[in-house]
Symmetry: C2
């Protein structure tokens, strides 16, 4: 494993030292781009309501990725019984007392919260914000820094007309291109689709294949470290984001923070002395 990263449990890694310092420095760059776009920062909670995700048909499209946030029944006797009788088996698992009703999901993507934040609002000009969140996606297998159950995502999000969103995405992509050229990272932009469950039976997947809305910045031909996403009116419809009565589009650029760390280590080695220097330009 890479120095400065340690596995705490399946899919769960900790970082410290030069890796964490690099994370801070990269995030400062992404934040400076947000500032150039006059995008204020938001910190969102890390659970999303089931009813918000359900509007997006999330549970049909991505059931394999979901992690629910489940608490025990508040009934005093139930809690007493659990406190006394719960049993952790040799494989480290524990049975919940009953099939629970769940109301929340651990956030699968940082930008979803932005549409909740702005639900029902009218915007007379493009609304651009940034947020960083801890995201959670269940996977069939995990790789440290590259495919984690829990990972960090920095996003810059734009809500506006279709043209405004496309202009935003093109500008964001330019900033990234300049930066990765300066660093000398071996990356290419590639058309991509979201990781749908059972994709061939999902009209959303077929739609994305026919009319690409997602571009991934792929490192060494194998690892997407950032993506641009044109959501069209998908979130605007679900959360009534409008201008002059017309539903708005949205789009985002997302940075998978741990994957950038992995790309650095794979490109330049583990010794931070050998990493290319970069700093936030004075804007």
């Amino acid at each position: 494993m890479i120095t400065g990263a340690s596995e705490h449990a399946t899919g769960l890694w900790a970082i410290h030292g030069s890796l964490l310092e690099l994370d801070h420095q990269l995030d400062a760059i992404f934040l400076s781009w947000a500032r150039e776009l006059n995008a204020p920062e938001y910190r969102f909670p890390q659970f999303l309501a089931v009813q918000h995700l359900d509007r997006l048909q999330y549970f049909s499209s991505f059931p394999h990725l979901v992690t629910f946030a489940v608490s025990l029944d508040r009934d005093e006797e139930e809690l007493k019984r659990f406190a006394k009788e719960h049993e952790v088996s040799a494989d480290g698992s524990l049975e919940l007392p009953m099939a629970p009703r769940v109301t929340h999901v651990v956030t699968p993507a940082a930008c979803y919260h932005a549409y909740v934040e702005f639900e029902g609002q009218e915007f007379n000009e493009p609304k651009i914000i940034t947020t960083r969140g801890t995201c959670c996606r269940r996977e069939d297998y995990y790789v440290g820094l590259e495919r984690q159950w829990i990972f960090s995502m920095r996003e810059i999000v734009c809500i506006g007309t279709s043209e405004e969103v496309q202009t935003f995405l093109a500008e964001a992509q330019e900033k990234v291109d300049r930066f990765v050229r300066e660093l000398g990272l071996n990356v290419t932009w590639e058309g991509a689709t979201d990781p749908f469950f059972n994709p061939k039976n999902n009209p959303k997947y077929i739609f994305q294949k026919l009319d690409p809305v997602k571009q991934e910045l792929v490192f060494d031909g194998r690892l997407a470290i950032a993506s641009t996403n044109d959501h069209r009116s998908y979130f605007g419809d679900a959360f009534q984001l409008t201008r002059d009565g017309q539903t708005l589009s949205s789009g985002c650029i997302a940075f998978g923070m741990e994957r950038w760390l992995s790309a650095f280590v794979h490109s330049f080695g583990e010794d931070p002395e050998s990493w290319p220097a970069f700093k936030v330009s004075d804007v």
Copy 2:
């Protein structure tokens, strides 16, 4: 509600603007104290393994606070059935297909991860680190910035002999005292106990009552915004943290970030212009 804070769902708040800026500035102060103590920073994952918490009798002591991280069975047919048949009821809840076996909990306290990180290690001198994490505690009721299902905690943690931990806690408490005096916050240190379930029947609670190990920094006589905790050998025993074959003690100082924001607004008003200025001193 306070400007810059918004409720996304029960117990879940977002912040932006001056409040988020204040959070960054306060965290820079707490981080500077960590630097003065030569404490490197760690970023930990935000789930803890059931088997790690079980060693601490967590499920007997705090079942009412727990939120489990629950994914669906990976079986393709099960996922297909869920994707097709799940139903979100009018109250925004959804039934999981069966009583699941769970392996992880959403982190209830930032420092627990430190003992997992260092499990089985021997320390020849005090080991002091800092971390900031998103913590999760289910409560009977919620108040924005003050009692949230999800909240942010900055901690500085010391693993060492009993004397080393006590020295660390006293020094940390002095730093806090100097800072709150400079700010003019109305706070007092008070003896406290952890929020045990069914406390009168829990020997751990009775032990804490007899021999106080927790001090809370209480704002306006009602809101704990920080605490010092002397864990004795509780974590050292559970995670085999030793020196010369002897189990070590541990202790931490923890800052409830959103509660500091609330204390600022309640003390000095909503207008950031009226907040006392402070900055990280040159160390």
